[in-house]
Subunit: 125 residues, 2 copies
DNA sequence: AATTTAGTTAGTCAATTAGCAAATTAGCTA
DNA sequence: TAGCTAATTTGCTAATTGACTAACTAAATT
């Protein structure tokens, strides 16, 4: 379960446009870099990318992108794994699934409460 | 549909602990202030609260809380309505529903892609 | 009409953030 | 081993954020 502190980190990580775009592209596999460069025998998720490949797609310096990726990692919405001198980045689907569940729980509870206590109406006299 | 700019605002709004707590309590109805003070004939959501009632529950000044509420409003995750000299605050369930759908769509697409393209396995040789 | 209540606006300040370049570390390659 | 590639760390700056108090506006109460 995601406690408040973890949620705050996730929201903060996703509140910056650059990080949001990195996340988007890591998540949708837009910047795949691993399959064509991987050493024989190295096991890497085929949608993984790496820091410099991500950086190629932004007009920001590598250190800036690296720092953003670190923040996404610390929010636990991506995972990173060093193989050789590259750092492979993958989406952390479990955290996203939990976020979906949190928001959905809010909606469900809200609807249930409204029905149970207020007869499914939003206004009172 | 929530475009990127709207999502960024929502994430930013929820990335601050004070705003997160305000949101939580507005959403779960913890700080109800309206029913016992409402004027005859004034229609207010029974789970609505107002700015000063929220502020009572925090060790921050009223202007600070007011500014936080403004940011939550501009992120469209709460709505505010002035009645007399009070501002009643309500959760905006529709935006939360959309957030739940966005995260769920990400999860669903990820699972589908993995199954379709990678045979439901995360690693390749 | 004067006072109180509810809330916002304006101005200030310290802390944090997001960017950069330079230096450093670690691993690969010739 | 020397040099290249990938990434991180360090130190810097400008902009933004989150808090405050004081001053203000608007509505309700006395």
């Amino acid at each position: 379960m995601l406690d408040m502190e973890k949620k705050l980190k996730i929201f903060k990580a996703l509140s910056n446009q650059t990080r949001f775009m990195i996340f988007k592209n890591v998540f949708t596999g837009g910047y795949t870099c691993s399959l064509d460069k991987v050493q024989p025998g190295v096991k890497v998720n085929p949608i993984a990318t790496c820091v410099s490949t991500v950086a190629e797609h932004f007009n920001f310096s590598l250190p800036t992108i690296s720092a953003h990726i670190k923040e996404l990692k610390e929010a636990n919405i991506i995972t990173v794994e060093k193989k050789g001198n590259k750092v492979y980045i993958e989406p952390n689907i479990e955290t996203i699934r939990e976020m979906a569940e949190c928001f959905q729980a809010l909606v469900t509870n809200f609807d249930n409460n409204r029905e149970l206590f207020f007869g499914d109406t939003l206004s009172v006299k």
